[in-house]
Amino acid sequence: MQTEDDTAQSSSPRQHARAAELEFKNVSKRYPGADKPALRDLSFKVPAGEICVLVGPSGCGKTTAMRMVNRMIDITEGDILLDGKSVRGRKPAELRREIGYVIQQIGLFPHLSIGDNIATVPRLLGWDRKRISARVDELLELISLPAETRDRYPAEVSGGQRQRVGVARALAADPPLMLMDEPFGAIDPITREHLQNEFLRLQEALRKTVVFVTHDIDEAIKMGDRIAIMREGGVLVQYDTPDRILADPADEFVARFVGLDRGLKRLALSKLSDLSLDDADSVRDGTPAHGQANPDRVVFVDGQSRPVGRLGRDREPEPIGPVGNPDTSLRDALSLIMSDDNRPLVVVDADGAVAGLARLDVIAGALASHNGRDAPAEARS
């Protein structure tokens, strides 16, 4: 592994799409002196390049499971395979340099500049100066931090920026696996959502294998390609895609954990771009539109066919309200429709031009069609 890094120096420090498959095989953990195991017979597989979210109530063993991967905690029984090779035989320090790790409290080094924080693992791996410097610049850009923050100390940047630096630091040596323990935990909801979106955008390009811990089911649904739901005593209850978990919870515990609003949560997983839209009757603003049959479908547009108004129920023109776009979630679309007297939502394309109308019953129909999508829901322990 090390030699591979050394010989790779001449090539550009861009990410070469390296991701490793991770497999838990009957892993158990019993802390010394504890009467009950913290993890019981955990088995699951994370395909290379996917985000697996471990979620469950406090104390169910999420952190324990994650920290056994990079040998921060010893495995009592079973094995963990990284790219098919057991981690048990690896030297801990070496193994850890190959795995990106973001701890919950971030843990930036306060005495090192942001740049030096990010450079930690590349330095440990003995990269040369130029390569490290280039990599730091690249990562700062990747997490959209201004270049001058490189020389600042962690105390001199905002909490959200520190969180990003924590992620960049873990990504620095381009590890095939990332472990992220509640990386966006202690942060306000708006910044948190921003960081989540940013990470998903990054992941789209990087395609790392990621193990992501959270106790927030909404975050799990948003971030996960797969979700592992755990319960007290370190038992894995269900391991599935977010949609399947919401559509078909394995048991009462999972159903309660995902919440009664799981139907709405499923809506949040789909976007307006997944929906077939109705055509709108676009009318050039200023021309009379009284002859139209269905006032709900009338949209007044400007010269670039951008919506400027609609026809009210009273058939009087009124200015346009909020509109949707292809990235708007069905859940948000539903909410907009219901707060607008159940009128269809005007959807615009990337250029702001009218693309069509989203009807309430079409959205409801999408939920129903999802249900039948992945057929044999019973075949699961």
Partner: protein
């Protein structure tokens, strides 16, 4: 034993030469007398004082540092080490001289042994506290990124303990500068010597005031230099928003201030 103060006989006032009116009248501070005696008395005394202090703080720091690393590595060692250094700290300096003189004589060694003993507690406490106050998540992150135990100590723990270590060094240095005046009980060195001389001349004010002022000035300059040095070694600490020194260290230092002045007055 043969301590200077015991040897000094009845006081015959001698205020330094009939030529200087101010001195003869024992004025509060005679600038001329002071400048005349800078080369023969005060200059050398300042240099000796600096040497006495530097040796004491240097050796004290080396010992305390080694002990602190031991206590940091092996928890159980902290209590006995702290106990012994606290004990040394509470022995009044004059008593310690009395105990040491039969073994080491009226030498600089006697003085240094005493001064070093007084620095140990302060330095040890601060270094250990500094190391222990490294946030657990920082150490955890370091371990998780693949730093070895040794790398964590050298690259994380020690640099982060620098503010606490300097806090200890500053108090230890200032304390030692003040304590080193007592060295004149044993050897004719340091700024204590002109103070004793002033007493033996029948409280010659100029010499007394000059020596005391120089000691204060020295402490002040040393403190400033240490602050500047810390800025250089740990520039990040100045940029931290809130406490530069962890609160418990401040507490540890404040808690120790009282016994220091008690010792000083003996």
């Amino acid at each position: 034993m043969g301590l200077l103060i015991a040897a000094s006989g009845p006081v015959i006032p001698n205020f330094g030469g009939a030529s200087d009116k101010c001195a003869v009248n024992n004025g509060f501070f005679c600038w001329n007398w002071f400048t005349q005696h800078w080369g023969s008395t005060f200059g050398p005394a300042v240099v000796q004082h600096i040497i006495l202090t530097a040796i004491a703080v240097g050796i004290g720091f080396a010992i305390a540092f080694a002990l602190a690393l031991l206590a940091y590595r092996f928890d159980w060692m902290e209590t006995p080490i702290a106990g012994i250094s606290s004990f040394l700290y509470t022995i009044p300096s004059l008593a310690l001289f009395q105990i040491l003189v039969p073994f080491t004589g009226l030498t600089r060694l006697t003085v240094e042994i005493a001064l070093v003993s007084y620095t140990l507690l302060l330095l040890f406490r601060n270094i250990v506290t500094g190391l222990r106050e490294v946030p657990e998540e920082v150490r955890d992150a370091a371990r998780g990124m693949g730093l070895t135990q040794r790398q964590i100590l050298l690259r994380i723990d020690l640099p982060l303990a620098v503010p606490a270590i300097f806090a200890g060094l500053r108090v230890a240095t200032v304390t030692t500068i003040s304590l080193a005046t007592v060295a004149a009980f044993v050897v004719d060195e340091g700024l204590g010597a002109p103070i004793f001389d002033a007493i033996s001349r029948g409280n010659f004010k100029t010499e007394f005031v000059a020596a005391a002022a120089l000691a204060i000035l020295l402490a002040w300059v040393a403190d400033l230099l240490l602050v500047a040095l810390q800025r250089m070694v740990a520039p990040w600490a100045a940029k931290r928003r809130s406490s530069v020194v962890p609160r418990s260290v401040v507490r540890a230092i404040r808690g120790r201030r009282r016994p220091i002045s008690a010792v000083r007055e003996t």
